[in-house]
């Protein structure tokens, strides 16, 4: 296959389809993944291609969906389970954190749980407090779980393919506002490695470390900062939060002396806290300012679009904050 335009949604579907064609043990399961084609259309037509034995519509039973995937993964399948919204992770946290994450360790390394839990999060659809959250910190705080969050069409494809070959459970969180984003995609290109961050923009004055949709906000902000304010900001897309690639971040921060971490998750005890703490720990001698956290507000998300949009970082907030770092 050659280069083609694809949406983030298409890229995800292609990744699933290619993996299923390549490896008969890959199955897809979840609510509405079959006949309906997925609440966000990611699994559209897979059931026609691979049949209902490999594309399994489930009842609305999130806990058992994850638990079933655990059992399937332990017995030779490569389940890719879908959680329709990451907001529903609360019902699955026992199966995810007490079972999937700990089985290899508790059982002395006898067996792993090579499953992928695909889900999506974030704001942007006026979906209210229980359908708009960014809950990746729960996953990142659980040893044993890998965590991938694609920001680009390329990663929607390649990172998902990579996730499906990992020996350990991967939580793969898409962003609901990115599904219609389009970009050229080459499924045969050599992908960035699993666990490697991607420097999407170089910059000498400031380093922005981020992931998922905020990568695009950061890139837009960096562009404006360069053009309008002569501030040169690097943008790092982490791609995976576990593993976390600090080695890519280090030289950039050492060089710029200023760092900003950007995350849609609520600020307190979130991913931004970990990133800020780590950068400070590792690059303290090089920092001119404290690492700045641009993160979600410590509040639930409203259905009102005005409140919703202002509950998470915006390109404007990123720009405004960056400017303040240079006064």
């Amino acid at each position: 296959m050659a280069m083609q335009e694809a949406t983030y949604r298409d890229a995800l579907r292609m990744a699933l389809s290619d993996a299923m064609s390549f490896d008969d043990s890959v199955i897809v399961m979840g609510e509405e993944v079959g006949r309906y084609g997925g609440a966000y259309g990611v699994t559209k037509d897979l059931i026609a291609e691979f049949g209902p034995e490999r594309v399994i519509d489930t009842p609305i039973s999130e806990a058992a969906i994850v638990g079933t995937a655990v059992g399937a993964a332990m017995t030779g399948l490569r389940p890719v389970a879908e959680l329709m919204y990451v907001d529903f992770i609360g019902m699955t946290m026992d199966q995810l954190a007490n079972q999937a994450a700990k089985i290899r360790y508790m059982f002395g390394g006898q067996i792993g749980v090579p499953m992928v839990l695909r889900t999506q999060g974030g704001t942007g659809r006026s979906a209210g407090a229980q359908h708009s959250q960014s809950l990746e910190a729960f996953v990142m705080h659980t040893p044993g779980l890998r965590l991938a969050m694609p920001a680009t069409v390329d990663d929607a494809y390649h990172l998902l393919r990579q996730a499906m070959t990992q020996p350990d459970p991967v939580v793969f969180i898409e962003h609901k506002s990115l599904y219609t984003m389009k970009a050229p995609l080459n499924p045969n290109a050599e992908p960035v490695g699993w666990g490697q961050a991607n420097v999407l923009r170089e910059g000498d004055d400031l380093v922005m470390v981020t992931y998922s949709r905020q990568v695009h906000y950061a890139l837009a902000a960096a562009q404006t900062l360069q053009t309008d304010h002569d501030i040169s900001a690097a943008v790092v897309d982490l791609r995976t939060l576990n593993p976390l690639d600090f080695e890519t971040i280090r030289p950039l921060v050492e060089n710029a002396g200023k760092a900003m971490v950007i995350s849609e998750a609520v600020l307190t005890c979130g991913v931004a806290a970990e990133l800020a703490a780590r950068i400070t720990e590792e690059c303290f001698d090089f920092l001119e300012d404290p690492v700045v956290r641009v993160a979600g507000e410590d509040i639930p998300i409203s259905v009102s679009p005005l409140l919703e949009n202002n509950s998470v970082p915006t390109p404007e907030l990123i720009i405004e904050t960056a400017k303040k770092m240079f006064v």
């Binding site: 609510e31 609440a39 359908h131 956290r293 679009p305 409140l307 970082p313």
Partner: protein, 337 residues
């Protein structure tokens, strides 16, 4: 008991139907907050039939498709529509929206965007009712899809064990999104599960609102005196799951059949056959309701957007400090360095 004569029941069902049609319009006009609008058209007899036997002081929770239930419990359609539009004069000041409407005054402990999420709260409300000997019942309304959620069984087990004044109402519109009930379970006789946990349980045909009233009345009476109950109401989801869903997963002929189970048409027929109302009476009533519901759109559209300042309010009790905005924090932090 209010709303117990057929004309009253019909009027209430018409109000629900017309309100939902207006919600659809609000969406088409681009004035709803988002597209997660779940209409209860086809299910009016469930909302109206159960609520007819509920009393002041009773409490309830609903699922995401709960507009009709709340209306039947006395909601103001204006404030509902305003909430659905995400406006400040809505029931929840525009923070909740269609899936998170509540009103403590009317005993509405909340709609829920989590399938099954509101179910256990009625067990707690049942404990409260018993503690204060208030005589109130608490009713959980949910869809057939929620029978996939373990928490339903945990809650029914507790209610039965403790003989609480609680009722579980499963509005079986045959679908959870694109999944037909027989694609979600091997035994679609849902009330059998409740029986196995020791509840009084039965299934009513939602075509006939009077059948629902009768079944719900008996079970609610039982619940009030400590025999928790489960009622499944069979009906059909006339339209898509949410506003954007065109239901490609079901055939036109199935839908046509399904929509024949229309509790309004059925009630209309009964009203006329029994001579309780003439066709003209009914049409006049329908027109009156249309005027009321038209007004709700105007009310919603005229409402203000929430103020930005309200964003940090109500995370905690009003006497507590609000969470610090990220911007404020950043400014303080950048005073360092």
């Amino acid at each position: 008991m209010k709303n117990s004569t057929l004309p009253e029941l019909y009027e209430e069902m018409r109000r629900v139907r017309t309100f939902e049609e207006r919600v659809g319009e609000l969406f088409v006009r681009g004035q709803s907050a988002g597209s997660m609008l779940h209409l209860s058209i086809g299910e009016e007899s469930a909302a109206v039939g159960v609520c007819a036997s509920m009393r002041d002081g009773d409490t309830f929770t609903t699922h995401h498709r709960g507009h009709g239930i709340f209306l039947a419990r006395g909601a103001d359609p204006n404030r509902m529509m305003a909430e659905i539009a995400g406006k400040q004069n809505g029931y929840c000041q525009g923070k909740g929206g269609s899936m998170h409407i509540a009103d403590m005054g009317l005993g509405h402990l909340g709609a829920n965007a989590i399938v099954g999420g509101g179910i256990p709260a009625v067990v707690g409300a049942g404990l409260s009712a018993r503690h204060t000997q208030s005589g109130a019942v608490s009713v959980a309304f949910f869809g057939d899809g929620a029978t996939g959620q373990g928490i339903l069984y945990e809650s029914m087990n507790m209610a039965a064990l403790w003989n609480l004044p609680v009722m579980f109402v499963c509005i079986n519109n045959q679908y959870g999104m694109g999944t037909r009930i027989d694609q979600a379970t091997a035994n679609p006789n849902l009330h059998e599960r409740a029986e196995a946990f020791g509840l009084a349980a039965r299934t009513a045909d939602g075509l006939d609102v009077e059948e629902v009233v009768d079944a719900a009345g008996v079970l609610l009476d039982g619940a009030r005196s400590g025999k928790p109950a489960f009622l499944a109401i069979d009906c059909y989801r006339f339209y898509g799951h949410a506003r954007k869903d065109k239901s490609p997963y079901r055939t036109d002929s199935e839908e046509e059949e399904g929509r024949k189970k229309d509790p309004l048409i059925h009630a209309r027929g009964k009203l006329m056959a029994s001579g309780l109302m003439s066709e003209a009476d009914i049409n006049a009533l329908d027109a009156r309701v249309a005027v009321e519901m038209d007004a709700s759109i105007d009310f919603a559209v005229a409402g203000q957007e929430p103020q930005m300042a309200s964003m940090f309010r109500d995370v905690y009790d009003a006497a507590q400090p609000e969470p610090e905005p990220v911007r404020t924090r950043i400014d303080r932090v950048l005073a360092q360095g």
